[in-house]
Amino acid sequence: MAEHDAPILEIENLSISFFTRLHEIPAVMDFSVTVRPGEAVGLVGESGCGKSTVALGVMRDLGVNGRIVGGTVRFKGRDLGTMSAAELRAIRGREIAMIYQEPMASLNPAMRVGRQLMEVPMIHEGISRTEARARALEVVGDVKLPDPERILDSYPHQLSGGQQQRIVIAMALMSKPSLLILDEPTTALDVTVEAAVVDLVKDLGRKYGTSMLFISHNLGLVLETCDRICVMYSGEAVETGSVRDVFDRMQHPYTQALFRSIPLPGTDKNAQPLKAIPGNFPLPHERPTGCNFGPRCDYFRAGQCDAGDIAMARIEGSDRHFTRCLRVAEIDWTAPLQKTGTVEATPPGKVVLRIENLRKYYEVAANALFGGGGATKVVKANESLSFEARESETLAIVGESGCGKSTLAKMLMGLETATDGAILLDNRNIEQTPIERRDTQTVADIQMVFQNPFDTLNPSMTVGRQIIRALEVFGIGATDRERRDEMLRLLDLVKLPREFAGRMPRQLSGGQKQRVGIARAFAGGARIVVADEPVSALDVSVQAAVTDLLMEIQRKQKTTLLFISHDLSIVRYLSDRVMVMYLGHVVELGTTDQVFAPPYHPYTEALLSAVPIADTRVKKTHIVLEGDVPSAMNPPPGCPFQTRCRWKPEVPGGLCEREVPAIRELAPGHQVKCHLSADALSCW
């Protein structure tokens, strides 16, 4: 028995550095963690904090430049650092397996799924092809993929994202490893798919007794999956302990700041604004002496915190709870968050944008690549959307990928023209006017903030130049001088220092780039801003700052904000009204309170239950949607959601399969597209 209780993985004082021609760049310093049999340990931190490097360090796959410069990694008592290449190969895949962030990229595109799976036991256990195939069939069944035989014979690109991730998981489980390293396994997936995958991983972990090292930036997800958690900041572990201890009795200022920067249920943009962590993440060669978090810490005390290296200290009376903070004892951890000042909610004004029965159908050739011929198919991207948006109102549009929210944004912008229906901007029809024929004022009125700030700025133009260019296009300012002043004013508006005008986009961090994107969008005094997932590519601590900036500008300029997102926590925090879309239909529309409280539409219910919430007090019903979102090219008859709806049996006479439900008003301003009776809907 004693042997079984011994830790599976012991990382002690691990330090990893990357070597360039000139410098040694420390990526991980003095990192320790222990994973016991059957235990799931979460590794949390922002991008660049070294969490993935730890995972690759365990696998001893650091590339040509990376090297372990100190400490040991022991796996089942054997030192991984001293193993030969052959010994390592025997462990990789068989004893330690890894699940990756992007399933499509981690599967070989030119190899059938079956062969990729069978390879694992064939290498490690030397079993025959037939045996390996039988094993693959069994594991593919275990990860709940339908029709395993067909799946094994397909290529990765023929599967959906969720199915690909299940294959990656199946591949990791082929030789029944004792340790599973999951590197952001669900970041690239939709929330409902994420919920299903997380569920699966937990079940399989239990079934096979596998220990897990779960790397994520999503605190909610870690709470749902892990027993223990380790918070990393700038290459160091700053706090480790059981999930309960760290979530409820956090003992490090960074952990606290992290929790305060994510929206939890109940937070509200007016009553309790999010508190962003001030400053920026230090680059590896800019780390301060002493506490790395010092410069951004509210509790920082000069002379004490920046004196020298700080060791991990044990918290008395806890189960292996450590923190890297000298002032643990002096800080009152229970002190409530100092209110940063509540803001007066701005009442929505007149209607500026009205959408009536808007439809967008695409005709696609059945065979697009080789010139088609044959039948064309119709993709119904948007089906009779009707809603209105008022001045200084935030309307959130939520839904999974493929629900038609981006098509709607494109039609608003004029990148696509509508098939049917109307878009009225100040009672002017604009749905048939493509962007190149819109007048300057209309273009300046409706602007967009894009999802990925890294791709949307021209890499060879200075920040100031890009904003001035937008001003020129919108015809603002008579002279270059005036435009330059206006540009500097915009930089002030988005809280960037004025000297950034002369910088190149590559010199900016993600959050700063997004601020430039916002400045550009507001350059022409936009009245409607379509924000397409504006913060999803940013780190948690930066998200809060960018969101608050958007809110602040909105309050000042009375902008109408259409906030497209799949992140329901942030939607709940900042929006006034919410529109839920599924397969091109609006299934629910109402104020935030109405949508986030029962009665729900069945899809909203599933969506809400899928969102991981980083709060130990929240208990939620667990609904896992089966299968994938149906293709818009071949939507199910009747209600679009009927194929995955758990309430379908409640509706008599198979109505769901025959008719698209009509829009019903449950309460003033709260509409739902569902056949369920009002009684059935409100019985939650």
Partner: protein
């Protein structure tokens, strides 16, 4: 798949017609015809004589009519003069009644070469066979060694092997055939100081190719083309080796040779495959130098002869062959691409 190939063949025929018409138009411009008349008749012809010669031989008819005749969809010209009937389709000594109305490429009549005094069809066939043989051996030597070079260099980017092999590849591509060819002859074949392993001329290879008389021309062409393919393969391989699925394979415990052979190779070959296919048309015309240098009377040598002697029919035939070779290799390249890359399907 069948409809895809049929459609591609249709497109190919259309392209071939357009391209050959352009060549036909250019070779049948008046200055060319004038030169032809003077070489066929005599160099001191007056303008009027040239005119009458060309008229008598159907050269002054409209361009489309001439093109139609050449293709074989327009009846050949027939002229009665001095009691005898002459015609494009009438062989000397053949009674006019027995001669066919059409005689063009479609009927298998490629015309008559004014330089070699032989049927163009026969010449092209012979020369193409000779050059085909040369190309086959070039490919046999060049493709596998280039791929091997590229894969070995690309699998560990920046390593010593990579740098050595890359330098070699760049050197071979940077050395033109007329330099390397001369060098090889000097080193391996010259009777004064050379090693005398091989023969400096490939004339004998026309009748009886042996390793001794054939290896040098093959090596000269292969080396030049090899560097290019090797560079492409190396770049493609190096990129594939940094892909995430290679990391997946590595962390599955797959050994390095198997990673290269089973996981990387197929993905890495997609890009160079097109380049290899493009080498065929290049080889067909690129052999000119080597064939001249080693005195191997193949297709390239014929091309030079035809061009310098204004042999219109032969030139046309040569260009038709080139066009067809280009198009066929592109078709093969597209089909092979589909096979290598499962993400593209044609069904």
């Amino acid at each position: 798949m069948v409809t895809f190939i049929l459609r591609r063949v249709g497109v190919m025929v259309l392209t071939a017609i357009c391209l050959t018409f352009i060549v036909f138009f250019l070779t049948n411009l008046y200055p060319n015809l004038e030169k032809l008349a003077k070489t066929q008749g005599n160099f001191r012809m007056t303008d009027a004589e040239v005119e009458s010669y060309l008229g008598r031989n159907g050269y002054l008819d409209p361009m489309l009519v001439k093109y139609g005749r050449w293709i074989g969809v327009w009846p050949g010209w027939v002229i009665e003069e001095e009691g005898a009937t002459r015609g494009r389709c009438i062989e000397p000594g053949q009674p006019p009644e027995e001669a066919p109305r059409f005689c063009g490429i479609l009927q298998g009549d490629w015309g008559f070469s004014t330089v070699f005094r032989k049927d163009v069809g026969v010449i092209t066939g012979e020369k193409l066979a000779l050059t085909g043989w040369l190309m086959l051996w070039v490919m046999v030597l060049m493709v596998p060694s280039a791929l091997m070079l590229g894969v070995l260099a690309g699998m560990r980017e920046g390593s010593r092997t990579d740098r050595t092999l890359s330098t070699f590849a760049i050197t071979t591509t940077a050395t033109p055939e007329y330099v390397s060819g001369v060098l090889f002859i000097a080193v391996f074949a010259s009777s004064a100081v050379g090693l005398q392993w091989f023969k400096g001329t490939a004339t004998g290879a026309v009748d009886k190719p042996t390793f001794e008389n054939f290896f040098l021309p093959v090596l000269t062409i292969a080396l030049y083309g090899m560097g290019y393919i090797a560079r492409m393969t190396r770049a493609s391989m190096a990129e594939v080796m940094t892909a995430q699925y290679i990391r997946t394979a590595r962390l599955k415990g797959v050994s390095f040779p198997n990673i290269v052979l089973k996981h990387a190779l197929r993905n890495a070959l997609i890009a160079p495959f097109t380049v290899i296919m493009l080498q065929f048309p290049w080889l067909l015309n690129g052999v000119v130098i080597v064939e001249t240098l080693f005195n191997y009377k193949g297709f390239g040598w014929t091309l030079v002869q035809a061009a310098s002697n204004n042999d219109i029919e032969l030139l046309l035939a040569v260009s038709v062959v080139s066009v067809v070779v280009v198009l066929v290799t592109q078709l093969i390249s597209d089909i092979g691409y589909v096979y290598l890359n499962p993400r593209i399907s044609v069904s």
